[in-house]
Symmetry: C2
Subunit: 444 residues, 2 copies
């Protein structure tokens, strides 16, 4: 995220941490160069357009912790990072609740042009009420309704990206003097329940047209939405047992939506702490824990779950302080370690590093073993590796993990080139025929 502290709260306090540099371009250009040189496929930037104010009913604790606040626009970082890289892909989060699809579709087309097709969009429907309130909306739109709006939002975008301009609309022909053949551009004439967009897309066809689409949907309605639209699905499973179930659920939903389950990779959120040996890695993890911030972690947990952790008894078993919402937190953490009875304090302590996702600590061999086991036993296709201490956390990935995975034949020797869609397994730059966007293609 374009913020000093994403999932591992308080690591900005570490003496070697340089995350304060997030305000300037060099920080991001260094990151992009490091990842590309180190053989990473994609840099993913999350976002929230709101502040975590469930904890204590105010944003104060989030501010004090620097828990995803301050936070800047991620999209503006992408072209600058693309200018110093050739193959690195980029994913950004943007909510369908915060910008009308007409200007949003243009922004993404611009990014796809500027990056030569290296942009992906993580579609979110927004989970922080504070964001919606700041756009003049009272509370959040009902959950299922949000997905109905999102479906229509996507249809508008697909019609603009795929349907408005034919592939050969731009002639830029000095001899005839014609820049665009108007017979090959059409207004989308869209009139839906929530949006009305009569005109044509303002950007000419970009390499991918529809950007590569990420989505993370946990609810049944969210999973149905992801199964219809996503080309890769993010999950945050705390253990391989849970991950295997989630991968199976995504695959079943994708098949149900009439698409090939093999065409939609599942990517697990994953934090790793790597050092030369297991012992030094565990020492490093303890060093990180020492500066990490359990209140920051509780702020994030409160925002994600809607439960105010400051109002719970920190030392009573969480399950005993029950509600349906609490049960899902209990399920997540007991599945991480079923032998424990988790208290709110223990959960927040645990979540200091890696937030709601799993953490693997060890030598490159140990971490690679765990990731390989995860791939083999769950069907997960890849990992969204979260930042820890910056920049050493980046370097653990590129200097220690990737070389080990290469030795095992799990990573290519050179980064894959082409568009983000091709990099992530697609047959070409454009969405496949079975993706709903393909149904809106311009046909003369």
């Amino acid at each position: 995220m374009n913020t000093p502290s994403h999932l591992s709260s308080g690591l900005w306090r570490h003496p070697r941490d340089r995350s304060r540099g997030y305000r300037g371009l060099e920080h991001w250009l260094d990151l992009a160069r490091t990842l590309e040189a180190g053989g990473i496929d994609v840099l993913f930037l999350a976002d929230v357009l709101g502040v975590y104010d469930v904890y204590g009913g105010s944003p104060d604790a989030a501010l004090r912790a620097g828990a995803q606040v301050p936070v800047g626009d991620p999209l503006q970082l992408v072209p600058a990072m693309a200018s110093v890289t050739e193959t690195l892909g980029f994913g950004i989060t943007a909510s369908v609740s915060f910008e009308h699809p007409f200007p949003f579709a243009r922004r993404i087309s611009t990014a796809d042009h500027l990056t030569n097709g290296r942009i992906g969009w993580n579609i979110v429907t927004s989970y922080l009420s504070s964001g919606a309130l700041n756009l003049g909306v009272d509370g959040q739109v009902a959950h299922d309704r949000r997905y109905d709006i999102a479906d229509e939002y996507l249809e508008v975008c697909y019609r603009l990206w795929e349907g408005s301009w034919s592939d050969d609309a731009v002639l830029a022909d000095a001899a005839s003097g014609v820049y665009v053949d108007p017979g090959k551009v059409r207004p989308i004439a869209f009139q839906g329940e929530f949006f009305r967009v009569p005109g044509l897309h303002l950007a000419e066809p970009s390499p991918q047209r529809t950007p590569f689409l990420f989505q993370a949907g946990a609810s049944s309605r969210g999973l149905r939405f992801a199964a219809r639209h996503a080309e890769a699905v993010f999950v945050a499973a705390p253990s391989d047992a849970v991950l295997a179930k989630q991968v199976a659920a995504v695959r079943a939903a994708v098949a149900e939506a009439g698409r090939d389950p093999d065409s939609v990779p599942v990517i697990n959120q994953q934090t790793v702490v790597i050092a030369e040996t297991d012992a030094t890695a565990h020492a490093l993890y303890r060093e990180y824990l020492d500066v990490a911030d359990p209140i920051g972690a509780a702020v994030l947990l409160s925002g994600w779950t809607g439960i105010d952790f400051s109002a719970l008894d920190p030392d009573a078993p969480l399950a005993a302080q029950g509600s349906n919402a609490i049960q899902s937190v209990v399920d997540a953490f007991t599945s991480a370690d079923p032998s424990r009875v988790w208290t709110p304090r223990e959960i927040a302590d645990y979540a200091r590093i890696g937030g709601d996702g799993p953490v693997i600590i060890g030598s490159p061999e140990t971490v690679a073993d765990a990731l390989e086991r995860s791939v083999e036993t769950t069907g997960v296709a890849g990992f969204n590796l979260a930042a820890t201490v910056v920049p050493e956390g980046w370097e653990q990935l590129t200097q220690q993990l990737v070389p080990e995975l290469r030795r095992r034949g799990r990573r290519p020797a050179a980064p894959r080139s082409g568009t983000l869609r091709e990099k992530l397994g697609g047959a070409g730059a454009r969405v496949t025929e079975t993706h709903p966007a393909a149904g809106f293609r311009h046909t003369p």
Copy 2:
């Protein structure tokens, strides 16, 4: 503009023109490097979020000409260009009609951080109906009402930029563990007629806070808006006589708004065609005219004036085909050359190079003479020099005009550094005390 053809229609057809490169980053990085090395202060990027469809009642002619379509998001270009420059300033156009002020304010704060305070915003209220229609708004909001909405939009932005975070709110203090002092951040609790924004700004204080503000307002309501908010005013006066009147009108309106007229420079839109001698410059101008596109020019004129030039008699005097709207076009062009009786064809032919603004053709000395005369006789402070053939038009400015202006002591030897506000004459990085934004500053 992030488009192949801005004001001079059809120059993309010129054999030396490279404007088709607008889709990729190298085009923009080259432009930024060229301008900075050549001593230009600011790169200004206009924008429209719509298509010119008044001419012939359809976008076809605009598409054929490439008249400001296709067109991409300008903001994403800025951080990439900032990464290869140190002092060049950037201005971008954004309409208050197309994005809610809460996310917009964050975008601009992000840009201000990433550029180290080198960003400016040209506030527009939008003039193309096609843009509004695509956001589900029937027709355009009444003109004066648009400015009421814009005033409130600015107030929301000012409260977010200036009022939400105190200068010393960010501690990022590892010892105490506090990133932000919550006592120094406050929600703006804004409840207006058009917008409701209860929360706090998501970005931490950036170098300028409020970006440097440009505005172009021609109507009396527009002028009042500009006089209140603008820190520099754009005009497009076709002659020094008209320019002198416009400068006087802006100064009077600024004084009326309680601000110092000397603090609000007026900048005229200006196209120049420069070569070694006057004769070679005129030959170059004729060469440009030969490939330029009178229909593209008529498409732009139709969009700006609301008059469908395709429905006029091309060879009858324009004044005789009267309406109030036509009268303003007549006034503009007769003031450019009062000795002529203009027909629609002649106007479109004339507007092929430079659109609705003036054109100066000649040697560096001749052009510098004309610009100096304009400054001395009208009170204009500077010029917004429009692109012609790319990149040679850029090079005419940096390799021919700037050196001549330097010889005359009209340009500094090295580009001025600091924030855009300081570069354009401000006493510091922040708005002055008499600017309305200053009234919203965070005071503990």
